[in-house]
């Protein structure tokens, strides 16, 4: 089947999509956007987190067909060329990145969290990120990145 959708502001068409194919597969394998990661394909790790019509989802759990006509934003859509999104900048500055495999999903999840709650309480942050597994950091620098991004608030891109 054919799926038409908008990804990071660009109209895209994926052909020969098979039954049961996930949005994650379409993004990574058909549209050349490997930013969202495949770490479990079971909805357990959050590495594949993207925006679907403004809501964050695990792209591995979304059937490609469900994304027909949808507006998708991936981690690749957050930076403006070399200008990083404030969340990305905060991840760098707070040392929230080690191997980086969880990072794209976390960056999108935090981007969404701060868009909804600009100054979240610690417990809310922990809860919001509980679906994003990270095996390297122990989360602490990630939480610090969220605080840093929240503090910097509307400082915009850097």
């Amino acid at each position: 089947m054919r799926v038409e959708l908008t990804v990071n502001g660009e109209p895209q068409v994926a052909d020969d999509v098979w039954e049961g194919e996930s949005l994650l597969y379409v993004l990574r394998e058909r549209l050349g956007l490997p930013g969202a990661k495949n770490a479990c394909e079971q909805g357990e790790c959050g590495s594949c987190t993207v925006y679907l019509d403004g809501t964050v989802v695990c792209a591995c759990l979304v059937a490609a067909g469900q994304a027909e006509g949808a507006e998708v934003v991936t981690v690749e859509g957050l930076a403006d060329g070399d200008a990083l999104d404030p969340v990305q900048r905060a991840f760098l500055d707070a040392g929230a990145v080690q191997c980086g495999f969880c990072t794209p999903g976390l960056v999108v999840a935090v981007h969404d969290l701060l868009a909804r709650t600009p100054d979240p309480a610690e417990a809310d942050v922990r809860e919001a990120l509980a679906g994003n597994l990270c095996r390297c950091t122990g989360y602490e620098h990630i939480l610090a990145a969220v605080r840093l991004a929240a503090e910097r608030g509307g400082e915009g891109r850097s």
């Binding site: 990574r28 079971q42 080690q98």
Partner: protein, 776 residues
């Protein structure tokens, strides 16, 4: 800082105080990571790429009677189906003991007649689409005669146990011993005993095993894979019956490894499919496949007997360790050696008798995992220290302080500890940082505290004669290019090397580019494992940078008309005391004019030594990193649940090259240790894993644990570059013993088996209640 250098090199010129080392700049790969643009192994694509798949046996012990691939080969889109008969040399060879007495057991790349664990590879498929490969895999028909298996290491030691390999079930027995142990036990005031068990643990790196292979120019089989060790290229050449210069392995930046990408994962299968099809092939393991078939941390059974005087001074220890190697050797011999060598921990043990055996079972193989045998034994020796304190009615701190190793002490292998031992300071500071005790949050809940110190080697077992090389060139524009065969697990391995080179040569970090992990284009550095990379490649980079600087110094001195030792390399130029400066670009040109090259290949060799397996004495590891973790926990005596309230972790890192990354390593390591302590387990029943779902594997999320408060101790002394010690593995060691000790403090019951699940807590509480007569 020339006085801390491990090799004599340049004169005093240059870097009196650290400018770059000791700061925490973000490196280029981190920028790519936050943008999602770093190309991990599975992100790589090649034109006309096929999709590779491993077909695995799903029985733990069987004889193969027939393999039928015809139906599978007929599936549209299938390009190749391979079985054992198609492998030119069907062996994966590990001589992990380095020839010190392990059984000679061959591991086939693809099973021939025997299946020894559920998940063992039997066939390979390459197809045009992943679905076709998947469909074909279903249609490979393997007929088996099931055989009795053995699924537990202690059962495998029994007489008459089914043999996993004809050669026997014990891969190796290590004995380490010194002093008159029996006499020491006879003269002791007190003896404490315990048997401790650890479980099978999944690395659970977020990036599953993956790679892409292709045939490159001049027929070189090239693999770009997530691997910690590119040097496996030589094994692949042997397997393919090709000359070693016809196989190239490139390591992509890894999404975590923790030892699980130290042995080959997808490499042999990819190489075979590429060689057979002559087309690019990608192989990506699904998470379930990864949990089913990847190597695990060895479950250990550890029997300890500790003899001491009434003041707490240790006289002797007897330790017996049995490690479950799973079905094939991999690195088990070396893991059990580390367990044996470190079994007495950071304590003076005048007499010791340690035996450690690696034993085959019909389960997925165990191999390297952060901590590498030395972490499992922490539960043993640190539980014993608490037991000893309880037995003698002494504070837990006191008993340890009486016995902590000091510089110059002899350890059970007969070696002398040569560098500073700051374990006392880590203990003091970890405990201090816990602050005021917390009250229980409800009736029926009890709060307790515990701590554990550890000692973890960094660098390879030294009889392997380790070395690392680095090739560095100042380009004509004054930028620096570093090439070295290190692999980057995500610990910032490449970035740290840039910091070291920047420090010495004064090239700003944004003017340094590093090319890593490529057997044909980078000088080999040995893999990234055994917390060796900073020690080895760090020293290689430091030495290469010094040698390059030494070579260019006379040129700069001549141009600037100043004494070589007065020159400073910083900020992209060389400056003289009189204010004269020469940019690095000008320096390169001045060198060229004098036929002095600005490129240099350096090699650094680690100290070497030998171990005598018969005497159980000799050289083991280059050096150690010491640390202490402390925790406050609350135990719910109704539900058995353990809540960690506070957690602190102190390690002596010698010198922190990049403090933020050191902190990140310690936090992440402690979290892995806590997951291991509290819930992580890969239960295997009769050889069959009970779950291969991520959902069934309980590793910590952001909700489960408190922050780890990190204390970085810098004794200034270590054998790494500029006095650094390795910190990759050490921080996951103390967590389990720390929590077990805190639980014992809270509820008065000692748990001896990991993970410390609520069920185990309740069982232990019940047993203790039954054993205590009701109060009158």
């Amino acid at each position: 800082m020339s006085e801390t250098r491990s090799e004599p090199g340049a004169a005093a010129a240059g870097t009196e105080s650290m400018r770059i080392v000791g700061t925490s700049p973000a490196h280029h790969d981190f920028v790519d990571k936050v943008k999602g643009s770093l190309m991990y192994a599975a992100d790589w694509r090649m034109p006309g790429m096929l999709h590779g798949k491993v077909v695995r046996a799903m029985v733990p012990s069987a004889r193969i009677t027939a393999v039928d691939t015809k139906t599978a080969a007929a599936v549209p889109g299938v390009v190749a189906v391979l079985t054992a008969a198609d492998v030119p040399w069907n062996h994966i060879v590990e001589r992990a003991s380095g020839g010190l007495g392990e059984l000679s057991v061959s591991m086939p790349v693809l099973a021939e007649d025997r299946i020894r664990y559920a998940g063992e590879p039997v066939a390979l498929i390459a197809a045009r689409t992943p679905q076709a490969a998947e469909d074909a895999a279903e249609l490979i028909d393997v007929e088996y005669d099931e055989l009795p298996g053995v699924f537990d290491a202690e059962a495998a030691l029994a007489d008459g146990a089914p043999l996993v390999h004809d050669a026997g079930n014990t891969l190796i027995t290590w004995n380490i011993g010194r002093g008159d142990v029996d006499a020491a036990f006879a003269s002791a005031d007190v003896v404490v005993r315990g048997t401790y068990r650890s479980q099978r643990v999944e690395h659970a790196y977020m990036e599953p095993e993956a790679g892409v292979g292709w045939v490159d120019t001049s027929g070189v089989i090239t693999l770009r894979v997530a691997t910690q060790v590119i040097e496996h290229a030589a094994h692949l050449a042997a397997m393919l019956a090709l000359p070693e210069n016809k196989v190239r392995v490139i390591s992509s930046y890894m999404g975590g490894g923790f030892g699980g990408k130290e042995d080959m994962t997808v490499e042999p299968y990819l190489a075979l499919l590429v060689a057979a099809t002559r087309r690019p092939v990608r192989m990506v393991w699904e998470r379930q496949e990864s949990i089913l078939a990847s190597t695990k941390r060895h479950p250990f059974t550890m029997r300890y007997e500790t003899a001491a005087r009434s003041d707490g001074t240790i006289l002797a220890q007897r330790v017996d360790i049995v490690g479950d190697a799973g079905a094939y050797p991999y690195l088990s011999a070396r893991v059990l050696f580390a367990g044996a060598a470190l079994a007495c921990g950071p304590y003076r043990t005048p007499a010791a008798s340690v035996r450690a055996r690696a034993v085959f079972t019909n389960t997925m193989p165990s191999s390297a995992f952060r901590g590498f045998g030395a972490m499992q034994v922490t539960l043993g020796y640190e539980s014993q220290m608490d037991r000893l304190a309880a037995e003698l009615g002494l504070p837990r701190e006191t008993v340890r302080e009486r016995n902590y190793l000091e510089r110059g002490d002899t350890i059970p292998t007969g070696e002398t500890v040569g560098t500073a031992v700051a374990v006392r300071e880590t203990q003091r500071r970890a405990l201090e940082a816990l602050g005021e005790p917390s009250p229980p949050s409800a009736p029926g809940r009890k709060v307790g505290r515990g701590f554990a110190s550890n000692m973890q080697p960094y660098g390879r077992t030294i009889w392997f004669r380790d070395k690392a090389a680095c090739w560095m060139s100042l380009e004509r524009d004054g930028t620096l290019l570093i090439r070295t065969g290190v692999t980057d697990l995500g610990g910032g391995q490449a970035a740290s090397l840039c910091q070291i080179a920047s420090e010495v040569l004064g090239v700003p970090l944004d003017r340094i580019s590093i090319h890593i992990g490529d057997t044909q284009l980078t000088p080999l550095a040995g893999g990234t494992y055994a917390t060796r990379q900073l020690y080895m490649s760090g020293n290689a980079t430091l030495q290469t940078a010094y040698e390059l600087r030494d070579r260019l110094l006379p040129v700069a001195a001549e141009v600037l008309g100043a004494a070589p030792e007065s020159l400073v390399f910083a900020g992209g130029s060389v400056s003289a005391p009189d204010g004269g400066t020469l940019s690095l670009a000008e320096l390169v040109a001045a060198g060229e004019a004098r036929a002095v090259s600005a490129a240099h290949l350096g090699e650094w060799r680690a100290e070497t030594g030998a171990f005598d397996p018969d005497r159980g004495q000799g050289h083991s590891f280059p050096d150690y990193t010491f640390g202490t973790h402390a925790a406050e926990v609350e135990v719910d005596t109704e539900t058995g649940e353990i809540r960690v309230l506070k957690y602190t972790a102190a390690h002596d890192v010698g010198r922190a090259i990049n403090p933020m990354r050191v902190e990140g390593q310690i936090q992440g390591g402690a979290y892995q240790g806590l997951g291991y302590a509290l819930g992580e387990d890969v239960p295997v029943v009769d050889g069959n894993p009970q779950s291969t779902l991520f959902a069934g594997y309980l590793m910590p999320t952001s909700m489960d644990l408190p922050d780890v408060q990190v204390i970085i101790v810098e004794s200034g002394e270590g054998k790494g570059p500029l006095g650094a010690r390795g910190i990759g593995e050490p921080p996951c060691g103390p967590s389990a013993a720390t929590i077990a000790n805190a639980v014992a403090d809270a509820v008065g019951v000692r748990l001896e088996e990991l993970p410390l699940t609520p069920e185990r807590v309740l069982t232990a509480l019940d047993a203790a209640r039954d054993a205590t007569p009701p109060a009158a």
